[in-house]
């Protein structure tokens, strides 16, 4: 009696999980209207740029849908190392790409496709009147930067060394978007972010450039992953990013050319 009930329960569980799986597949197909999905893991700073390039890619490849996972580069690398199903990876710095190539997870050598530099962001109207990097070292200001552990923080340390100005930040944030949020909300008087972040933020922050920033350049590499099940499509995506069409989208967002 009890064992029959157990069997019934097991069957019910199996059926429902099958149903859930079927639903998942169905909705994927409905959403994409295609039969292939390309999964791209990309640094958070590429969100807008890659979404645009992804649309272009879909229009050039009938029946292909591009899925993006945007996040911190080091998060994405650890997800790929743990076996996340990705076809392409684009990193916001070379250090994180090296973590991945160190584990031989790439299909071919990474290609650099963009560069980014730092810029000072202030709340609209720049209420604290910041005009140079040296101003960030003044006491009594709420300056927010990235923690040295993350790529934008590593760049910030280099900027401090290049300018000889030591910043006493009120907070060392986890990501460049966190810095931007603290600035645009007016909590911070200034923050150090990327040029592209200031461009993407529009009216919610003002940007203050500083000459030394041109010496501190973050390079963005992109690579097809070894475990990709669509390696031809993945290579097509990388080719589109590095093509003239892709590069014009990249530059429009404020990135530099490698």
């Amino acid at each position: 009696m009890i064992s029959r009930r157990l069997v019934a329960l097991g069957t019910a569980l199996a059926l429902s999980s099958a149903a859930v799986a079927a639903c998942g597949d169905g909705s994927d197909d409905d959403a994409g209207g295609g039969d292939k999905t390309l999964t791209v893991f990309a640094a958070a700073s590429l969100t807008k740029t890659f979404t645009d390039i992804g649309k272009e890619f879909e229009s050039r490849h009938d029946g292909v849908k591009v899925d993006f996972s945007f996040g911190g580069s080091s998060d994405l690398v650890s997800q790929i190392q743990e076996g996340a199903p990705a076809d392409v990876f684009a990193s916001a710095d070379e250090a994180n790409m090296e973590k991945l190539t160190g584990d031989h997870l790439q299909a071919e050598d990474p290609v650099d496709f963009a560069t980014n530099t730092l810029e000072i962001a202030t709340p609209p109207g720049n209420p604290a009147g910041i005009t140079s990097f040296a101003d960030l070292g003044k006491s009594g200001l709420n300056v927010v930067v990235c923690a040295p552990e993350v790529p934008c923080g590593a760049a910030t340390v280099k900027a401090e060394q290049a300018t000889g100005v030591m910043i006493q930040p009120v907070s060392e944030e986890q990501s460049v978007t966190d810095v931007l949020a603290k600035v645009s909300s007016g909590e911070a008087d200034a923050g150090l972010v990327y040029v592209t972040d200031v461009a993407a933020a529009g009216d919610s922050v003002d940007g203050v450039t500083f000459p030394q920033s041109s010496d501190i350049v973050n390079t963005y590499p992109i690579v097809v992953l070894k475990d990709s099940k669509n390696s031809d499509l993945a290579q097509d995506f990388v080719d589109l990013v590095t093509s003239d069409a892709g590069q014009s989208v990249v530059e429009e967002a404020g990135f530099g050319s490698p």
Binding site: I2, R5, L6, L9, G72, S74, S78, N142, V144, A147, E149, V150, P169, V170, S171, E172, E173, Q174, D178, A181, K182, S185, G186, E187
Partner: protein, 271 residues
């Protein structure tokens, strides 16, 4: 039923049989919770464990977490117990709505709580201007951490104490009042001792919730060593460059949580 039987607690009777199939989902559920804990243990780099958790950054985060969680638990007690009393003992229009709103942080994503605090106490927030006038800057300070923790932990205390108050009923309080005790004396001598177990477990839950607070803190308080970077924030940051340190600290947090729960057990048994 003999008089002797009546005195025996219900739990001493032979336990009722559970449906046998229930052990299957129960075991799956238990494994789901326990396996990840085992995975953390398996991932710990034991040879460097000592140096990883005694690094300057780890120490600063650990003590900051203990200090802020203690402070926020005290705040929860100071404001949560009176709130629970009003909710449990008074009846006025809109009480049930007020009750739901006060308990909202239980279901609110902590990031949303952090944003709400920012819009209230931030420099450009609702009260930010007034605070600025009296020279108080909340954002990026340890006070902001304590506020974020209190915000998310308070409902745990209120729910615990309110439940205890409703279970305890008012008979002893009525008797004490009829014998001439004033409201404060009734509260101090009758109500408080009656709900003490609920109060203790509520306080322990609040402490545990404060200790684990992440989203509201990172949104509202920022992240700076020794000032606002609590243990969960330190773990999240270390994961970027030093996963071994992150795992070691995670284990420390798990151990503290287990100790806290173990401490709460006698309180719950007495309920």
């Amino acid at each position: 039923m003999t008089p002797a039987d009546r005195g025996r607690p219900l739990t001493a009777a032979r336990p009722l049989d559970l449906p046998r199939w229930m052990y299957v989902p129960a075991s799956v559920g238990a494994a789901f919770v326990l396996l990840p804990l085992a995975a953390i243990l398996a991932k710990v780099d034991w040879t460097h464990f000592g140096s990883l958790i005694t690094s300057e950054d780890s120490q600063a985060a650990f003590w900051l977490s203990l200090k802020t969680s203690t402070a926020s638990t005290l705040l929860c007690l100071a404001f949560g117990v009176p709130m629970a009393l009003v909710l449990a003992r008074r009846d006025f229009p809109g009480l049930s709505v007020l009750r739901s709103l006060v308990l909202l942080p239980l279901v609110l994503p902590p990031v949303v709580g952090g944003l709400a605090l920012l819009y209230t106490f931030g420099r450009r927030g609702l009260l930010g201007g007034a605070l600025d006038v009296i020279g108080v800057q909340v954002a990026f300070s340890t006070i902001a951490v304590v506020m974020a923790q209190t915000f998310v932990a308070m409902p745990f205390l209120v729910v615990s104490v309110e439940g205890a108050l409703r279970t305890a009923g008012q008979r002893y309080e009525v008797v004490a009042a009829s014998l001439g005790a004033g409201p404060t004396t009734v509260f101090r001598r009758i109500t408080l001792p009656l709900v003490l177990p609920g109060l203790v477990s509520g306080a322990v839950l609040s402490f545990a919730r404060s200790l684990g607070e992440f989203g509201a803190t990172i949104t509202f308080a920022g992240s700076l060593r020794g000032r606002t970077r609590t243990l969960p924030l330190e773990i999240y940051l270390q994961r970027e460059t030093d996963p071994d340190a992150a795992v070691a600290l995670a284990l420390v947090l798990v151990v503290v949580a287990v100790l806290v729960i173990a401490f709460a057990r006698p309180g719950r048994g007495a309920l």
